[in-house]
Amino acid sequence: MQNNIKFLSGNEACAEGAFYAGALFYAGYPITPSSEIAQIASERLPAIGGTYVQMEDEIASMAAIIGASCCGVKSFTATSGPGFSLMQENLGVAVMGEVPCVVINVQRSGPSTGLATNPAQADIMQARWGTHGDHSMIALTPSSVQECYEMTIRAFDLSEKYRCPVLVLTDKTVAQMREKVVLYEPGERKLAERKKPSGPAEEYLPYRADDDGIPPMAAFGDKRLLRVTSSTHNEQGFTNDDPGNAYTLIRRLYDKIEDNVDDIAVFKTYLMDDADTAFIAFGITARAALNAVYKLREEGHKVGLIDMSTMWPFPDRKLKEAVSGCRALLVPEMNLGQLVREVNRICCDKEVYSYTKSDGKNIFPAEIIKAWRESL
């Protein structure tokens, strides 16, 4: 028996992933069904020389992880619906200020307090558009406990690489169910670190991007003075209201993510080679959909699954390609139809069917099969 094989909940796996990625700072405010992550962070971080701070609310939590990350420390927080709403303004600071950090949002029923604390998958549009203004966003959607672990590590990698916040959108079911997880050995997996500046300290410009659109980042306490700002700014990090500068900045912040959609956005395909119908799902619903696929295959139906492991940026081109051989698409999701809007946007030449559920209950394989039979 190897000791890197564990039986963990999704929340525990997210925490393990964060520690493996090198996170040394957590600031948060407890909320079900995410609180286990805070509890584990409070216990484990001081044991590895890191810091846990319980803040007065989620506004402060988001601010604190940004402050800590500016010191060069990998930082994260975890929350759920109401807390995620409170984080939106400062999430924008991490976008505009280009501060790497990871936010785990365990989706639960809403709006507002909702069916506290039943599962839902209704925050994917909020994740994309919740903070105001033009921006892109990276959001990963694990559908297993193993993926909670791996995607949290990947979230840190992407945030360091692209200098931006990265969201891990789990759901209450994935977060609290237990499954076998294989953890990496120390050093087994390569980790991304943010690009450090070089050259004379006096010449350092905190927002001068390299050709890849990403500026190297000094840390507070370095000789090179780091200015991080929420305002539209020039390369020095000073407020600047020149329209040309504003557009260049907004474009760069947007393009550094959208132009790299092929690097960032990955999804998993199951039995898609000969499929004439594809189920497109994410999170716990992708697990139900996979079960439905296997059952329908037993009956001889050519059905496949795309598990959207990355929700944002949306993989327009790759998804279109993946379903090119299909006649029909069915999108089951635990909301009133959020993912299906995106699928409709890029696959409008196909028959797109939606199966939605928004009552605090998971979608079961039998429901997907029924929806498939009714729509086709």
Binding site: V53, C71, F220, G221, V228, G237
Partner: protein, 280 residues
């Protein structure tokens, strides 16, 4: 190390954007002189700001800077200080930032006792957005959103912070420039959460709405109302109304968050890297 006051200022950014007679520049000058007097290296200093006229202060200070959102300078500063306790961290805030939208963070920062110096330039209104009412606008005073006089009483910021557990709490005015500089230096040297309120003026809005005259007469009004703590507390309570106490109002030694968290790390069996220990 020899440092000059100019090492802390971005003189190329001058003239600043504040109105004539505004107090905010005076406070920035005092911060720069305090840092220079303490010889704290600019690259070992982080200034966080919120949004507002005083939220622009970091533009003129040549240290690391984090310009965040309205009211959140303290939680940004808290993340910095908790993650890198060896750095000197200052949060510069307007009264809206510190006590109105950010009031919850202020009381918790005082209670949590991270070694941060919070400096509030309190001009009794929201300068940036056109002189609206703040939690420090006294009852009955006019602002652009209290044209008939504010129906709400104001906070005494120093009392609020003392009540929340702040270990170093001081008040001065923008007239008392030397005292301000000294108090800010002492606040920075204090280990734990320190708070300096600068009673300031906004001649453009608050002064105009309340017919307090030009900047010079507003300064005089503030100066005449400011009493040393000793003088103030010698007055009978019913004689105090027109005055406010200045100086160090409360100083108490207590373990700061970093000291306490080192204990947590020890209990947890964690080792703390050298560089992360408080160096002061």
């Amino acid at each position: 190390m020899t440092v000059a006051v100019s090492d802390y200022l971005r003189e190329d950014k001058l003239p600043h954007l504040w109105c004539g007679g505004c107090s905010h520049g005076v406070v920035v000058g005092a911060v720069a002189r305090a840092l220079a007097a303490l010889e704290i290296a600019p690259d070992q200093t982080v200034v966080t700001t919120g949004i507002g006229c005083f939220g622009k202060a970091d533009d003129y200070i040549a240290t690391h800077a984090l310009h965040g959102t309205h009211g959140r300078a303290l939680p940004f500063a808290s993340g910095v200080k908790a993650a890198a306790p060896h750095l000197t961290v200052l949060a510069l805030m307007g009264d809206g930032d510190a006590a109105t939208i950010g009031g919850n963070h202020l009381i918790h920062a005082a209670r949590r006792n991270l070694d941060i110096t919070a400096i509030v330039s309190n001009n009794n209104n929201y300068g940036m957005t056109g002189g609206q009412c703040s939690a420090t606008t006294p009852a009955g005073k006019r602002t652009s959103t209290s044209r008939y006089g504010s129906p709400e009483p104001d906070f005494d910021l120093c009392d609020l912070v003392i009540g929340s557990g702040g270990g170093f709490v001081a008040r001065t005015t923008h007239y008392h420039v030397r005292a301000m500089e000294k108090l800010i230096a002492e606040a920075i040297s204090y280990r734990g959460f320190s708070f300096v309120e600068v009673v300031a003026c906004c001649p453009t809005y608050y002064g105009r709405y309340n017919r307090e005259g030009d900047a010079a007469s507003m300064v005089k009004l503030i100066k005449d109302r400011a009493l040393s703590k000793d003088k103030y507390f010698k007055l009978a309570p019913d004689e105090r109304e027109d005055f406010f106490p200045t100086g160090k109002l409360h100083v108490e030694e207590k373990a700061d968050f970093t000291t306490r968290y080192l204990e947590v790390q020890k209990k947890a069996g964690g080792i703390k890297a050298e560089s992360k220990e408080g160096s002061r």
